[in-house]
Every structure is written in structure tokens, then in C-alpha cells.
Symmetry: C2
Subunit: 166 residues, 2 copies
């Protein structure tokens, strides 16, 4: 079966593109294993204190982020496209089992978003592309102001540092 | 890759289950071919005057329904799960390419919904299950009051009558 081609819209979407020196298989493992996610997913001093993954289209991607003050922020997403070592897509617009969600988990006013992680082998490393797809320009702006680039970049640094120990 | 198992929740979902005397291959063709959709999709005297299908996860399912008074109602959905002759899942909570949608296309107050068509061979016919999955009880109620069972049932009668001519 053919798969969807992501179409990047600079007015609505945010993108982080980097080359990292761990191979796609390790980046994939970092994103799809709760034990790894708990270590690297949240830029310090935030923590990820819980994670559950049902890795298939329609399956659950659940995390709980804890603020430095000790407040917990649960997030529930639904996987949409799962291609091992290549592409991981999920959204908070749907709950697991594809049920439309009531509330966006990303933050006040941001609205729902869909995330795509695209991996491509490059030498012994990985060309890493993270895309956040919003329904409107307001959602994109709020996500950007919340610190998308810094936050996702710092989390990626933590991912690489963690997986290099493997 | 394993696929999602639909979980029916009677408080939130609506279901139409019937056995029809055309085989799954013909029901599948009826649902996935614009020329067929335009013939059977809307209970008369409504008409379906346009249809576009990009049959893959993330692809577009587009229809325009025309009321007896001549008003057009365009609907855009995104396919989520496509298993030939077995299972077709789409939602209006996402636009094609998995972008979160701004407005539900189902009708005032109904909210987004996800539709699943499940097909199973039964003798020379098909066990046909259509499930409409809502985010809350209100959405289910509004969809039911709009005439889900009558409307989807009448459309299915039209589908069977049309495909029997093939």
C-alpha cells in the first residue's frame, strides 16, 4: 500500500531539521520504547514520568510530563502512520481507536496538532526531520512562542546523548 | 503491521449492521470509486454531485452533497485505514495529509466523527458494518436525530441495487 506524502506548509507548520550522529534504528528505538522516551523526551528540568506506546495505526501514544514545580501534564495521542526506522506520525486530534478528541493536549489556545518524525540514513547518522502540523496560523504561532524549536531541539540532544550510551 | 481493532462504545457510537447479497469486492468498489459513490452515496432526493478519492492513509475522501433545494454541502475527510475488501476508515477531524481540521463537516453541533466500514464475506454476500464514532454523547445524539440509521440504511439499499447491475 502506498503511504501519505507529508506536505509542508510554512504558514501552518513548524519544522526542525538536523543531522544527528546516531543511526535511524536507534532514533526509532528512542521514539518507540517507553523506557527510552522517559529518559529523553522532555527538556530538563521537566521530566517525563509516564509513557505508554501501542505502536500501530490507531494505537495510543501516552505521556505524562512533570513541570519543575511538580504539576503533571498528561498527553494522549493516536498513531496514524508507523513505518519502522523511517516515519512516525501521530495526532492529538484523535484518541486511540481514531475517536475524535475533545481537547487539544498541547497547551492553551494551540489547538490540535499532528506530528511527523521522518528519518533518513545519512552516512553513519540520521537526517532527522520533525514537523508539527497545525490547523491554522494561530496554532502554529502559539506553538512557536511556546518554544517549539528550542524545546524539540533540546529533547533531540538528550535523545542522541542517551542513545549513544547503548 | 498489525492494525487497529475498532472498539464500539454504545454511548458514543452509532452502528448499522446488515447482511447484503453482493460480495465484499463489489461493496468495496462501490465505496472506493467516485463514479459509483456519485450514484448511491446520498439517500434520494439528495444527490452526490462530486466525489474525489485518494485511497491511502492520509489521502482525501471528498464529496459534495446537493439538497433537493439545490444547496451544495462539501465534505472533506482523511482516510486512516485502508484494507482492500475488508476495512475502510476515515475521519473529518483531519484534513488530507493528517492536518487537524477546523470545522466538522457533518452538520451543526455534531462535531467531528470517524467512520468505519467493515466487510466480511458471508455466503455469497457480505456482512456489512458501518460505525460512526463520536467524541461525546451529544455528537452521537445529534447524528442519530439527523437520521443516521435511516439515511445510512437507505444509501446501502441504493449501493446494493446499483452494484447488482454490474
Amino acid at each position: 500500500m502506498s503511504h501519505s506524502v507529508p506536505v509542508f506548509d510554512p504558514k501552518l507548520d513548524l519544522v526542525l531539521e538536523r543531522v544527528v550522529d546516531v543511526p535511524p534504528e536507534l532514533v526509532w528505538a528512542a521514539w518507540t520504547t517507553p523506557e527510552h522516551v522517559k529518559v529523553w523526551f522532555t527538556p530538563a528540568p521537566w521530566k517525563t514520568v509516564d509513557c505508554a506506546i501501542d505502536l500501530r495505526p490507531g494505537g495510543r501514544f501516552f505521556t505524562v510530563m512533570r513541570s519543575p514545580e511538580g504539576q503533571d501534564f498528561p498527553n494522549t495521542g493516536c498513531y496514524l502512520d508507523v513505518v519502522e526506522n523511517r516515519r512516525l506520525v501521530w495526532t492529538d486530534a484523535l484518541l486511540p481507536g481514531y475517536r475524535p478528541a475533545n481537547d487539544a493536549s498541547g497547551g492553551p489556545g494551540m489547538g490540535f496538532f499532528t506530528a511527523m518524525i521522518l528519518l533518513e540514513a545519512q552516512g553513519s547518522g540520521t537526517k532527522y526531520t520533525a514537523i508539527a502540523i497545525h490547523r491554522d496560523e494561530k496554532g502554529r504561532k502559539i506553538h512557536e512562542d511556546m518554544g517549539f524549536h528550542t524545546g524539540w531541539g533540546k529533547a533531540l540532544d538528550q535523545l542522541v546523548a542517551h542513545m549513544k550510551k547503548k
